[in-house]
């Protein structure tokens, strides 16, 4: 009797535990829709995200574009997405699932998904895969990214004009080329607008920890910075700036809603034009695998509308440089460029190649920070 009772209890416990686990897993994804039902004539587009669509940053920007595809293009169904996919073997499973469910175009939106995207794509030669920020392509795999450093440069101009202490804080995630490139682009903008200013960098070694990133911004504010820029997936630094009565420059999406009194502008991603063009090319059969690196002129990177504190003089300055960049007459990493020690890295009249820009691992003059922290 006693044994039977405890067996029953054990079974019940297992069932409950399993139910809890299942409920937990189910809550994270929004991919319950069965795309097969939505008709063979429509183009089914799916997304795989590294973070939650609600991160108010990187993944949020991608998800905004997904919703745009779904609602604005009548031949597209883009209801399928999976959030919080770890950059590991799980990515291959999710990609396979998305392909098996009948999706025709799959976007995988984080660097760490690269090899899994290539592997899974081999098994589905009739489907199109697009991988964000990577460098490997295949017959049915293309890559895409944007020249965020151009938007960063413009926000640097704004920050340089806004600072009174001539010290701008920059809360940065990891010392990798993407982040370093952004800091350099930003700093060159700051120096153009205000040669006396410098940019102080603090590494958080997190992409997503709102309160920690806020703390890092506080440390910068305490050491005299009066404008805070950032390369993170959350608006924590913006909120720190607002609380301290300082200014800030957002990233990923327009962050003015988090800190309306602080945000001068934000360097933003707008994936809509690229996604719409790509999906259309696939639909028309004109798509070819390539490495897309869109620019300010393409609209994939941009700056968000200015806050009310930004004056006309600054706006004019930004417009002037935007025109130069958009026309192709000039770009951010044109010489002369000096490194932190003041040594010339790029001679006057020369310019860095895309390859050099993509692998950038040194700071330009004007950055006050070190790259060693990761080692």
């Amino acid at each position: 009797m006693h044994l039977k009772n405890s067996k029953m209890r054990f079974t019940l416990m297992l069932v409950l535990a399993a139910a809890l686990l299942l409920a937990g897993c189910g809550g994270g994804g929004g991919n319950e829709g069965t795309t097969e039902d939505q008709g063979e004539d429509k183009l089914n587009v799916a997304f795989m995200y590294v973070g939650p669509a609600g991160d108010a940053g990187w993944t949020y920007a991608h998800d905004q574009a997904r919703q745009y595809l779904d609602t604005e293009l009548d031949y597209v169904v883009a209801e399928d997405y999976v959030e919080n996919v770890a950059e590991g073997a799980e990515a291959a499973t999710v990609l396979t699932q998305l392909a098996e469910k009948g999706n025709d175009v799959i976007f995988s939106t984080s660097f760490g998904f690269m090899d899994y995207t290539i592997d899974v794509a081999k098994k589905y030669p009739n489907k199109t895969f697009l991988h964000c920020s990577g460098y490997k392509t295949a017959a049915n795999v293309g890559t895409y990214f944007g020249r965020m450093y151009q938007a960063r440069y413009l926000t640097g101009l704004v920050a340089g004009k806004a600072t009174e202490t001539d010290l701008i804080g920059y809360v940065a995630a990891f010392p990798i080329p993407e982040v370093i490139r952004g800091i350099n682009g930003f700093t060159l903008g700051v120096k153009e607008a205000n040669p006396d200013a410098e940019v102080k960098v603090i590494w958080t070694n997190t992409w997503y920890d709102p309160s920690k990133e806020k703390d890092a911004a506080k440390a910068l504010l305490d050491s005299g910075a009066d404008v805070i820029a950032q390369h993170q997936d959350t608006p924590g630094p913006q909120q720190a700036a607002q609380e301290a009565g300082a200014y800030s420059v957002g990233y990923n999406t327009d962050m003015s809603k988090f800190a309306p009194e602080a945000v001068l502008t934000s360097a933003v991603w707008d994936w809509r034009p690229y996604y719409a063009d790509t999906v259309e090319a696939v639909e028309n059969g004109t798509w070819e695998p390539n490495q897309y690196w869109g620019s300010l002129a393409d609209g994939i990177v941009d700056i968000a509308p200015f806050g009310p504190m930004v004056g006309d003089e600054t706006k004019e300055l930004v417009k002037q440089w935007r025109d130069k960049i958009e026309s192709g007459e000039w770009d951010v990493f044109y010489g002369p460029l000096k490194d932190q020690s003041g040594k010339i890295k790029v001679e006057e009249g020369q310019q860095m190649t895309d390859d050099e820009i993509l692998n950038m691992n040194w700071f330009v003059e004007g950055v006050n920070g070190k790259l060693e922290s990761s080692e």
């Binding site: 994270g28 609600g54 590494w203 080692e375």
Partner: protein
């Protein structure tokens, strides 16, 4: 290092330590009753999102705190049902609770993600106290939830070590069979403190969404629930020591960032390891003394209690 910077670091240590502190206090109560609850992260997340939703719609941060307590308590009662009544494995149930809480909070928070909170808790100066040199600007220019934690700590210490009810709680955690034979309702005690523990974890989570950040973002706790679990061991199940541990653990990041700002580079990975290294060191120190002075883990921690198996 100037005094001002030191004050800034210590004040930030308190703010950063407070969510850890609430969660750890809750876990201390549950573990004192013999129930290990690894669902702290999940309870904090559900508390954070419920608190934010309530504060957002009522424009009252205190309504948020109450909602967070109720939500954390509700989460904990699932754990209590599974582990106390059904005598399920506490580790499995706690881990499920974290996974469940992560998913549930993300789902509940969908519509309000990134909405800034108009009426968050704000720091204010305690009259008189804040003018004490050095201590004042560190301890008494904080927000209401920090001040509340200053009150809760001594009360909880007194309760655990100086009252009969507190003694009963400790007895249940040490030896439930003996406590039972003395007429203590072991099951009720376990339920009550697991649930109160969940409520405190809920406040810990809500501190992030109502004061620290203050907005709701998915996974806003970013692993703080796990640090709180380590903190309980660091504190050797003593609320007075938890306060020290919470501020050390919270202050590590603040210190690291300030050192970076002064161009002193300490690898961030090393700083991230510190809470766990401290915990291991304390564990080693405590294990030696444990037999003699009997501090440390409650004896029946993690074991299901079955009256018939006495």
């Amino acid at each position: 290092m100037s005094v001002d910077i030191l004050i800034a670091i210590l004040a930030t240590a308190i703010t950063a330590g407070t969510p850890l502190l609430y969660a750890a206090l809750g876990e201390i109560l549950a573990e004192r009753a013999g129930i290990l609850n690894l669902g702290v992260e999940g309870m904090m997340l559900v508390g954070a999102v419920s608190g934010f939703i309530a504060a957002h719609y009522t424009s009252s941060p205190w309504a948020g705190v109450i909602a967070a307590m109720l939500a954390g308590g509700a989460m904990a009662s699932i754990h209590a049902l599974l582990t106390v009544t059904l005598r399920a494995n506490q580790i499995v149930s706690g881990l499920s609770l974290t996974i469940f809480g992560t998913g549930l909070s993300g789902y509940l928070g969908k519509p309000i993600v990134g909405t800034p909170l108009e009426t968050s808790f704000k720091a204010f100066e305690m009259p008189i106290m804040s003018s004490i040199p050095f201590i004042g600007p560190i301890m008494f220019k904080q927000d209401a939830l920090v001040y509340l934690s200053y009150i809760i700590i001594p009360l909880m210490w007194y309760f655990l070590y100086r009252t009969k009810t507190g003694l009963n709680l400790r007895a249940v955690g040490e030896n439930p069979a003996a406590a039972d034979s003395l007429g203590i309702n072991v099951f009720r005690v376990k339920y009550v403190y697991v649930i109160i523990g969940g409520m405190l974890a809920g406040i810990g989570g809500a501190y992030l969404s109502l004061m620290y950040v203050p907005t709701w973002m998915e996974n806003i706790t970013a692993g703080r629930g796990w640090i709180a679990v380590a903190l309980v061991i660091f504190a050797t199940w003593n609320p007075a020591q938890a306060i020290l541990g919470a501020y050390i653990f919270g202050g590590i990041d603040a210190l690291g960032f300030r050192l970076q700002a002064m161009d002193i580079m300490i690898p961030t990975y090393f700083l991230k390891m510190l809470p766990y290294i401290f915990t291991i060191i304390v564990l080693i120190l405590v294990t030696g003394k444990n037999a003699a002075k009997h501090i440390g883990a409650p004896q029946s921690l993690g074991l299901p209690y079955d009256r018939e198996e006495r």
